[in-house]
Amino acid sequence: MPFFKIFTIWHALPILILLLFFSPILIILFSLFSDYSENWEHIYNYVLTDYIVNSLILVLGVSILVIIIGSVTAWIVTNYDFTGRRFFEWGLILPLAIPPYILAYTFTGLFDSYGTLNELAGSIFNLQESGLFFPNIRNIYGAILVFSFTLYPYVYLICRTAFLNQSRSMFEVGRTLGLSQKLIFLKLALPIVRPALIAGTMIVAMETLSDFGAVDHFAVSTFTTGIFRTWYGMYDLTTAMQLASMLLIFITFCLVIERTSRRNASFSTISSNFKPMPIKKLSSQQSFLCFLVCFIPIFIGFVLPILEILNWSLRFNSGFFEKHFFRISFNTISLSVFSAILCTFIAMLINFSIRYQNSSIIKVTNPFLNIGYAVPGLILAVGIVQLFVFLDNNILNSFDGYFVTGSIFGLIFAYIIKSYALANSTYEAGYQKISQTVDDTARILKSKGFNLLFRVHFPLLKTSFFTSILLVTSEVVKELPATLVLRPFNFETLAVSTYIYASEERMIEAAAPATAIILIGLIPIFFLTKMIRASRLEDKR
């Protein structure tokens, strides 16, 4: 059979997209083999240790806290009946709507020496000016708190699912073998969900290492702030890329652990004869304690920042909805919706290729396309800038000046790479619900290729299509570092505007864009809530 008959467009498309997605990452990694400048020597001698140590302290501190908060709250809502349990089941994921950089801005607004809470505590306890009630938050410990209280839902979600899948008989046997109710959690439930716990923690570690806004605001030197300073302070893109490569290697290591743990997580239920855990009723004292344990993370990670933003908004008066706000909102929404539609189309085509061709090449390619979610926005931005400069200088040089460098294309490209995993998982879930017999019947009726895709699959997967667009849109709206670097001159989005106001300490003016980001960030929470409700096994208990 001729090669072109076997190797169709459905084979070529995933490989082409894989090359596109990987090119900025490969450019970054190749920088490791280029010359090292004097700036690198300076960084190596004076600040690299700081970057490494601070990044490690951050990741370690955040990991410990998210494991405690995520696993304990997940265990409580899965196994005990207490006041507010139904709310907490989904309420505990609310902090996901708030990006770490916005929590960092509100925390400084609350806990700085002239912050809302310090002033309030000062007036209540009649403290002198120097006698601050809350300690300074602008340090690495403050950053650990910020990341922990915005990112713990990743661990909560994954642990909750794992706890729901644990069989009752396993714990009952544990009891007869000498474990008390408390020891069951520590010696059985937690070790059994260890792979899931590691996977969740690795996602948190990757998010922590990728962040730029929060660590920059708290003046903590990490890899991301170092990359930014090297590029924008020293104007040395090569050294910035070399730094980015080091971070990328570390993140790849986290990614490998996360993937391996996720595979092992399947061992949590080995029996087909599954009996879910019964929900235990609690006394009023125990119920109150559980309520408190679940409420505190939501209060710190969601309620407090919302209250502070409301406080800013009230002080902002009529200026809240001014012209500038509408302009940046329009920029953000149009850009993110356009990127989301494009990203969703790509995910649809790739998933259709997998289904239609059932080829091992495509199946092997697809997981690699998901890599973007793990790559920090800043690194992606550095790689894309370098790729576009190369394209402009060598391929598109017939145009005057730079054609793609500094254009909106860079932003869209970065958003698609970063959000592809989200769109892909939505489509994968959708396709799992369509029986193969639907395809077989359609093909017997002479529907194939694009005809099969648009006449059969597209109408059946409309929900996946729109869900994907909504999820990607909300993800793109929050993205700060890539937008900050890749945006065309004088082009602002909600995230960039919030960052600029906060870095100029104009917190009150940051209220409007921050509110908009949080509202849009609630979209995935809505979908996750629906999933959580669907996964509730009470009816079967």
Binding site: S167, S169, M170, E172, V173, G174, R175, T176, L177, G178, L179, S180, Q181, L188, P191, I192, R194, F267, S268, T269, I270, S271, S272, N273, F274, K275
Partner: protein, 217 residues
């Protein structure tokens, strides 16, 4: 022979009205194997759970070795009753290998390793000691579950449909082996099953749960 388990006037219900067990009295002698048979949902497993201390009865008392362990107002937790439990789905701990699963209940004993080997050999799974539960067959998993329950030297062994998930050949193989071990060790066993043949093969006595009545054979 000494009475090891004494159940008197036991009643249990879910909710207010529906009684799954009503006024049930029963005693188990040391070394005796008793089977409880009956249709699904009639209360066999519930009785086992009450004996294990996993549920509290609405009325009546349960005594093990003459000591009160369950009543309307009192419940001794399962970990303090010295019982063994083997269930249909094996309930092996998936994060531990076979040997560690078997040693789980005797972690405080110094010679736990040698004891574990002894029981693994008894149930013919010694060569699997380093394997994880998902790496071995259903029959092998059930052998490990038996070894784990017996190693603690329980006063009473509670079996809840332990052979139900196995195929016919494997089931009869395990029947012969386990009965031999139970008798050799003089174990007191309560076996819950829906398989009458199995009950007859194993038991010194059969209790049949029927709607509104209990028949002792």
């Amino acid at each position: 022979m000494k009475t090891i388990l004494e159940i008197s006037d036991l009643s249990h219900s879910y909710g207010d009205e529906i009684f799954t067990i009503t006024d049930f009295s029963f005693s188990l002698k040391e070394g005796e194997i008793t089977s409880i048979i009956g249709a699904s949902g009639i209360g066999k497993t519930t009785l086992l759970r009450i004996i294990a201390g996993l549920e509290q009865p609405v009325e009546g008392e349960v005594r093990i070795n003459e000591k009160l362990v369950s009543s309307k107002n009192f419940i001794l937790p399962p970990e303090k009753r010295n019982l063994g439990l083997v269930v249909e789905d094996r309930a092996l701990f998936p994060h531990l290998n076979v040997k560690k699963n078997v040693m789980f209940g005797i972690n405080y004993i110094e010679e736990k390793e040698s004891l574990a080997r002894e029981y693994l050999e008894l149930f013919k799974v010694l060569d699997l000691e380093e394997k994880f539960p998902h790496e071995i067959s259903a029959g092998q998993q059930q052998r490990v579950a038996f070894a784990r329950a017996l190693i603690t030297n329980p006063d009473i062994l509670l079996l809840d449909e332990p052979f139900a998930a196995l195929d016919k050949k494997l089931k009869s193989e395990l029947h012969v082996e386990t009965k031999k071990i139970f008798k050799e060790k003089g174990l007191s066993v309560i076996l819950v099953t829906h398989d009458e043949e199995e009950a007859e093969y194993f038991s010194d006595r059969i209790i049949e749960f029927q709607e509104n009545k209990i028949i002792v054979r």
